[in-house]
């Protein structure tokens, strides 16, 4: 990377982090010039996908099976299956479409890290979603992990943080991109050509170069003036968005010709094409309707297999695109379901749940944490990751997020320091990932 490019990357990172940099004396770096507006090298990973089962999944029908005490009507304790150290609920006979637990674990169990007994502390959708996405319950300002890692690792990517739903706050660190349809990707590539046709540019090269230079000059002049913080952020983010958007032209070759039918697969193709083109760091993928207050088993047997099928789709397509070895997958939901059925055969909100992780740097075939026979969280010793009902602690989203920040190598980044999780050192999960 040339020194000039490096400087520009630094500048753009700062641009995106402008909301953080209240005291950062980096004003000289704002003097970006048009010659800096050349296309950036692609971001080459790692990539992060956060799958969200919106509404609250029933973990006892997936990675935390019980089969006792009336918790599950579709199977008994003796029906619980295993793969390596994993125990999971049998769903092959009950699922409506999608991928069964049996098939999912058979293919991915060796790579899969499961955490059971996660305590969300509350049991309403909005706060739970926020808490699980950010690791912070009592703030509306904190960024989601996906946004945070995008801001830290690729703020200059034009689609750095993609979201298809779920709680998606960015903490003003990075812009959130919504690209709901594959054809939309085509639409935003090649903005300087008429109807996106590269052979029909709006401007001759020399004119376009002059426009870019004038915009860069103006940007530099603005940066030298005292501006209100909001204005300064807006100028920076606007300039970065327009300049970086040129890189979107790289997406075109990776847009598949046919559009998959499954909900998650459609989202996945947008994310994967963007990853492959080096224009994206992270994506929130989400499907909803897990909130099975009525007919829990029917709903969960339709949705969990659909969800797992989506996860498998991503992993298969990532393999085909040769980015699987750089793809980190986080699978979560904002809450669990109660251990009892209500009068409508549904299950209500439960503040204990699970999460799954898979990707480079994560040792699979492991299960950390647990719930007891009543589906209550069992305290965990964070140093040994063993159950310790007496001296253990309740593992909450901030513990997982702190671990994620360390895993991604961003825990010491200025953005993370700006949004501290304040997990005491002795509560850090030691050896969580491998």
């Amino acid at each position: 990377m040339s020194n000039q490019t490096r400087q520009r990357r630094d500048f753009l990172k700062w641009c995106a982090c402008a909301g953080l940099s209240l005291a950062t004396p980096l004003r000289h770096e704002r003097a970006v010039r048009a010659e800096d507006s050349r296309e950036l090298p692609p971001y080459d990973g790692p990539y992060y996908i956060v799958f969200n089962a919106a509404g609250g999944w029933d973990t006892t029908y997936l990675m935390d099976p019980k089969g006792t005490g009336g918790i599950n009507r579709l199977y008994a304790e003796g029906d619980i299956l295993t793969h390596g150290v994993h125990r999971f609920a049998p769903t092959e006979k009950h699922k409506e479409g999608g991928l069964s637990n049996e098939d999912f674990y058979a293919e991915f169990g060796d790579e899969l890290l499961v955490f059971n007994g996660l305590d969300y502390s509350v049991n309403n959708h909005a706060p739970c979603s926020r808490y699980m996405a950010t690791g912070k319950l009592d703030s509306l300002a904190y960024p989601t992990f996906a946004a945070l890692v995008a801001a830290c690792q690729g703020p200059d990517c034009p689609l750095s943080f993609l979201t298809f739903g779920n709680y998606s706050a960015t903490g003003n660190l990075v812009a959130m991109s919504r690209v709901p349809y594959l054809p939309s990707l085509q639409r935003i590539a090649n903005a300087d050509a008429i109807d996106g046709n590269e052979r029909s540019p709006y401007h001759d090269d020399f004119a376009l170069a002059r426009i870019e230079q004038a915009l860069g000059d103006r940007r530099a002049a603005q940066a030298a003036r005292p501006l209100l913080p909001r204005r300064e952020r807006a100028e920076n983010m606007l300039y970065a968005a327009q300049v970086n958007s040129k890189a979107l032209a790289r997406v075109t070759p990776h847009i598949p010709k046919s559009i998959p039918k499954q909900r998650l697969a459609q989202q996945a193709e947008v994310a994967l094409a963007s990853f492959k083109a080096g224009v994206c760091v992270s994506a929130n993928l989400s499907i909803g309707q897990f909130d099975s207050h009525a007919n829990n088993d029917r709903d969960q047997m339709k949705l969990i297999p659909e969800f797992l099928e989506g996860v498998a789709y991503v992993l298969h397509r990532a393999e085909e695109l040769h980015i699987r070895d750089k793809l980190v997958v986080i699978v979560q939901s904002e809450m669990g379901r109660t251990p009892t059925y209500n009068k409508g055969d549904g299950k209500d909100h439960w503040s204990i749940g699970s999460a799954m992780f898979l990707g480079p740097g994560i040792t699979g075939n492991r299960v950390i944490g647990a719930t007891d026979e009543g589906q209550f969280a069992v305290p965990l010793n964070p140093a040994t990751l063993t159950q310790d009902a007496d001296k253990g602690i309740r593992i909450r989203p901030e513990h997982i997020h702190e671990a994620l920040r360390r895993f991604a190598g961003i825990a010491d980044h200025q953005a993370c320091e700006e949004f501290p999780l304040k997990v005491p050192a002795e509560e850090n999960l030691q050896g969580f990932w491998s």
Binding site: L22, V179, H203, R233, A241, F376
Partner: protein
Amino acid sequence: MKTHPADKSRTNGDRAVLCLVATVATALAAVAQAADRAPCPGPDCLAAADKWFADEVWARVGAMECIKCHKQGGDAEDTLLVLRDPGLAQGDELKKLMQLNRDAFARVARLKSDGQPVLLAKVTGGLDHGGKQVLKPDSTGYRILEQFVRQIDTPTSAPSTGSLVDPDRPPFFDGVLMLDDRRLLRRATLSLAGRLPTEAELKQVSSHGLKAIPLILDEVMREDAFFERLREGFNNIFLTLGINGNPDATVLSYEHFEKTRLWYQKHDLSHITDEKERRQAGYKLANDYRAALLGEPMKLIEYIVRNDRPFTEIVTADYIMVTPYTARGYGIFDELQGQFSDPDDPFEYIPVKLDALTGRSRREDQESETGFYPHAGLLSTFQYLSRYPTTETNRNRLRARMYYQHFLGVDVLELAARVSDAAAVTAKYEIPTMQASECVVCHKTLDPVAGLFQDYWRFEANFAIYGKRKDGWFTDMFDAGFEGEDLPAEERWRALQWLGERTAKDPRFAIAMTEHAYYLLTGRRPLLVPKDLDDPLYPAHRRAYQEQRQQVETIARRFVDGGFSFKGLLSDWVLSDFYRADGLATVAATPERRAELDDIGVVRMLSPEQLERKLAAVFGRPWGRLTDQTAMLYGGIDSKEVTERATDPSGAMGSIQRTLANDVACRNVAYDFSRPPADRVLFPEIEPDVRPGTSPEADVRIRRAIVHLHQRVLGRDDEPGSEEVDRTFALFAGIVTDAATREGIDEREIYSCRQGLESPVVDAHYTVRAWRSVVTYLLRQQEFLYE
């Protein structure tokens, strides 16, 4: 400090101790109150103590934590500590309320249990505190209370002066530059009516300054474009356009509108002989009908504002808005027909009071003492009820939550309190929402309002929205009511009207509407109270919050005093420093000052709709491509899944901005030159044959043309010799010069950019394309893409 219903399982011994404490405390209260003041040497001392209490104990602990439960109607209303929310109070009233709160705190601060201050024990979760731990012992909030207790215990000591407020700090807007009056007018007319100011309006402002603006705005807010903006702004809040399914089914239910809701299917279109045309007309009929149904709630808001009616009618109006098409759906067209100016206009709305609903069977008939549907503004519209539906398990709590958020500005789930083990609480109590203090704190407020919606108890809007629960309303919920007042049985048939009447009188309503006006104008919510007392920038954040809050309250009071005029709200915000702030005289020198100013200035990225309107205002016609999927890509909303507009541009949006700038310039530059000078909007005083560097006069004309473009496109009033004009001139001249050195340059504009011209435009010297580059350059700037 409080007793929760959950605490009623306490032993008699516990109760005795609490009673004793309360009795002793009451007996001591009067003495204590006097003693509290006695040692104070004079008014200054007392004022300092009061100020310290207001700034520290109240602002940082009482208002943020204690008052959630310790208030009339709150979960801890039967304890010794009952606080008063100052709301919109000011002057002597505010002083009186703060004094009452200080006295209440002081009473509890004197109590001891085993020699330890009860206040400190309770707040950290001791002595069976119903609210469990509120503050950690090492927190700033705790230290403030500790200091307060010490002050009460040793009244001879000087009052605490540890306030973080610097009395010598400069005024909040010190060094902040305000928009000049002309630019303020441009910002306001573009924002509110999607147009540029007229010459006459600019003259008024030039002559009379800021004083002219309210009168001008008063006229602007009579234009149709304003009402379009108003409806759009309020849909961003209420999202009633986001109803699922076909509105002819999900707004008008089978149960009550079975025979009329699908009127369009039988509508006689036989006068259209061509089959295809007839089919298309049928589609249009249905689409217009559905759009008209969806539009009713926002048209209600428009009607209220257009007719200068008190804005409280959004919760009290005893009518809805219907059109000739929707009236057919309701089955009331025949009786209304004569009231419409054009009975065939699908979008002519008039106010109407519906009859009470009649079901297919008598048991589904609506109860009504008047014979009319009990309208309560938006609250009782089928659209609002359908957009925020209920389920068997949700029990109208979503509706109650949205009611609080929309009409009182309270987000009950905004910052949910952490529970040490929520699962255990859920399992421990038979009815956690009525017994577990962690749940009661919200449900005691939320559930009574949910109960007011009890007669809208159907789960499939297609079949019914109105309908009673077969077994009566739930007994394992707090009774229907509002803020501690039970709904009288005889009012049940009009429960939402009962709620609307109370809402209109609630001071939080005025605040919420003031905040909605701010949201409409700036695209963001007012600041939330900063919570992190240990943040080094807390004082700066707090000051920013307080200054803005003070403005919100001032405008809200004027709103109330002015008879709830929503136009007045908008006008007041436009004239406020928060809307006018535009720059800084000098760089904010410290992180603290930057933090104070962090949210100042409108600086709002225009939404797709606003951007189209602005393009239409500047160029005389919209771009027309920021619609549907492109609008969504550009941060728009669908009012269903995507309900928050993007506030910062992503790379995808940056790409759209570039396309927009290229394409709008392409469509308009040669076209403008092709028109008679008098009709031009971009180049009224220059022709393509004026080339840079050919004569001083030519350069002067080019600079004047640039000044005009800067004014028209960016709203800037630049001098011909200014730095900005220099830069644009250099762009224009540079391109013309570059082109002159190239071979094979076509003497015409490119094909796509010379379509639809009114007369041929020659571009022999590349000046037309250079001007197009200039316009592209201007359209990509923050001053165009933001407001």
